[in-house]
């Protein structure tokens, strides 16, 4: 009896900690970062007043806390607003849609490894909720369900602009899912594994995919294969990161909700907490996307440069709690990447819809496919004769040139604008 109860208790503690204590608070925090960082970029001040109101207690000054309480105030505002349901909507789907955007984003948390093993009270536990062997596929599969939320929201609102937003998001997210899936195949080929924990362990030991400067925990120059593999790794990283931007409807690709064209896009008809749930879904998807990029390309929880073994052995008494330091490293990387997302949002202008589709289908799709073959060639090279490698690379170059040529030829000639 106690054995299964303890297992169950550990699972529930992990779910609650990682989902509701680690990831969910990151959502309002990233909203705060977004507002402060955009203010810095635009030379404004940003929200810096909300703090502890000591003046209410008769003191001279408030304690402003740099406005860190602002997300709580925002949340309270959204909770207390009137929840208005317009007359013309399709009720059941209108209520279902916000939940369909938040829930998948939070479910995907369960395969992200937040740290290595920790030992507490004699139990060794992995700091990941579900250590399954299909990690990245699980994230893609579940987050591909997010599109239903947005599409249904657009359709259920039963008015023009939300509908256009919903239709746009369907086409956009399906197109970029293909680039997303194809772009990480080189990474999976390199590690030969679909388990995210194993991938991060490997990176902690032998160098991050984009920074392979240590082997077996000691600083050293990368081997020839690892150095050559940097080329497909960097291409994969670029395609994957940009596709994540499109998949989460972030700024350069936020066509489903662009204010200048579609009022508010798919959530025009939503108010109060239902609107806030779309907002949360978007930011949660951004957090998970950043976590996935860090896990696959930038070493996940590992600090790198040969420090990981020392941290893992760090213990107080019987408790090996080095894993908690690794959680800190992971969160630091995560916040840095979220800041990068925000920086991009406030510096890059929005794409036109045909440009978006062209980027996805003509450039990324082909580049990702060629990248798969390049990675396979580099990985398989040590086992082949020189002639086979040479002919393989010639074919690869020829195919690349042919694809670029076809793309150039099939492009319609630019129309001359006349006043």
């Amino acid at each position: 009896m106690p054995e299964i109860l303890i297992t169950l208790a550990i699972i529930i503690v992990k779910v609650i900690t990682f989902t509701f204590v680690v990831v969910l608070p990151l959502v309002p925090l990233s909203v705060y970062f977004e507002r402060r960082f955009s203010a810095i970029i635009q030379d404004r001040v940003g929200p810096n007043r909300v703090g502890i109101p000591f003046t209410l207690l008769g003191m001279k000054k408030d304690f402003h806390l740099f406005g860190l309480i602002q997300p709580i105030a925002d949340g309270l505002k959204l909770f207390l607003k009137e929840d208005f349901t317009p007359d013309h909507v399709r009720k059941a789907f209108y209520w279902l849609a916000p939940a369909l955007t938040v829930v998948p984003a939070l479910i995907t948390v369960c395969v992200i490894p937040f740290g290595p093993d920790v030992t507490l009270f004699g139990y060794t536990e992995k700091l990941v909720i579900a250590d399954i062997d299909v990690g990245p596929l699980f994230i893609f599969a579940i987050s591909s369900l997010t599109v239903y939320g947005i599409t249904i929201a657009g359709w259920a609102s039963n008015s023009k602009f939300p509908f256009i937003g919903g239709v746009r998001s369907t086409a956009q997210m399906i197109s970029y899912e293909i680039c997303l899936g194809l772009s990480i195949i080189p990474v999976l080929l390199y590690y030969g594994d679909l388990n995210l924990s194993n991938i991060v362990n490997e990176q902690a030991k032998n160098g991050w995919l984009l920074l392979p400067f240590w082997t077996d925990g000691k600083l050293s120059l990368p081997s020839a294969e690892a150095a050559l593999f940097l080329i497909p790794a960097i291409i994969a990283f670029l395609i994957f990161t940009i596709s994540i931007f499109a998949e989460t409807n972030r700024m350069p690709f936020d066509l489903p909700e662009c204010e200048t064209e579609l009022v508010g896009g798919y959530h025009t008809e939503y108010s109060s907490m239902k609107f806030a749930m779309f907002f949360m879904g978007e930011y949660a998807a951004m957090v998970i996307g950043s976590a996935l990029i860090i896990t696959l390309f930038l070493g996940g929880w590992s600090l790198g440069f040969g420090f990981d073994q020392a941290i893992a052995n760090f213990s107080i008494g019987d408790f090996q709690i080095g894993g908690f330091i690794h959680i800190g490293v992971f969160l630091a990387k995560l916040i840095a990447f979220i800041l990068f997302f925000i920086l991009v949002r406030w510096t890059v202008p929005r794409f036109r819809y045909d440009q978006l589709m062209k980027l996805g289908w003509v450039i990324f799709f082909e580049a990702a496919l060629i990248n798969v073959f390049l990675a396979a060639l580099i990985i398989a090279a040590p086992e082949f004769k020189t002639t086979i490698i040479a002919s393989g690379s010639v074919i690869l170059v020829a195919v690349t040139a042919a694809i670029i040529w076809v793309a150039k030829v099939s492009e319609p000639p630019a129309k001359i604008l006349r006043a």
Binding site: I132, L137, F140, A141, L145, Y148, T151, I152, G192
Partner: protein, 194 residues
């Protein structure tokens, strides 16, 4: 535990499947179908086929049904009006059900040899490991008492079924090229001035 989950997810799947034909609104039907697919994926996962389950969600729920929904919304299909029940189709449907039921009873009536699949414990997995190359990932995982379903599917596909896989790839390519040719042709004929 897993028995209870099996009943839970098969109930979800069956309710979804019935709802597909019971709903009058096409969008509701599509969403019910998605529910059914998700339940099916959960059943696959219950059989330790994680990869198949995930692909089921990724391909069917995440891509194909989204496109269905897209088409339904673009065409703006109205709710199906209730048709007057016609004698002949009703009779044909009932006859099919009866035939199926008789066949079902016939199958169940046979005494099946009491065969159950071996349990996925350490011994059977380690015994299965001898069929694979000794230094591969599959052998390592099997000896550790894990079922490397992704690697096993890959191994089977690329050794036993290599030729069919290549042929399937060519077939899909032909279909893709055909779609492009057809759509290009119709849009070109529309654009030419008459």
């Amino acid at each position: 535990m897993s028995q209870a989950l099996f009943w839970l997810f098969s109930t979800i799947m069956l309710i979804g499947a019935c709802a597909v034909i019971a709903f009058r609104n096409p969008v509701s039907s599509a969403m019910a179908m998605v529910t059914s697919f998700v339940g099916l994926a959960a059943l696959f996962i219950g059989l330790s086929a994680f990869f198949v389950g995930m692909i089921q969600i990724l391909v069917y729920s995440g891509a194909i049904m989204v496109l269905f929904l897209f088409i339904i919304m673009l065409l703006d299909l109205k709710e199906e009006t209730k048709r007057a029940t016609n004698g002949a189709p009703l009779f044909a449907g009932l006859a099919l059900v009866v035939v199926f039921f008789i066949q079902f009873i016939g199958v169940l009536g046979h005494k099946l040899p009491n065969q159950s699949a071996p349990e996925l414990n350490k011994e059977t997995l380690a015994a299965a490991a001898t069929q694979f190359p000794a230094d591969g990932k599959i052998t390592g995982a099997l000896n550790n008492g894990k079922l490397p379903d992704v690697h096993l599917i890959g191994h089977t596909l690329f050794t036993e079924y290599n030729l069919p896989l290549q042929i399937l790839g060519v077939l899909l390519l032909v279909a893709t090229v055909g779609v492009v040719v057809l759509s290009k042709k119709s849009s070109a004929s529309e654009n030419t001035p008459s």
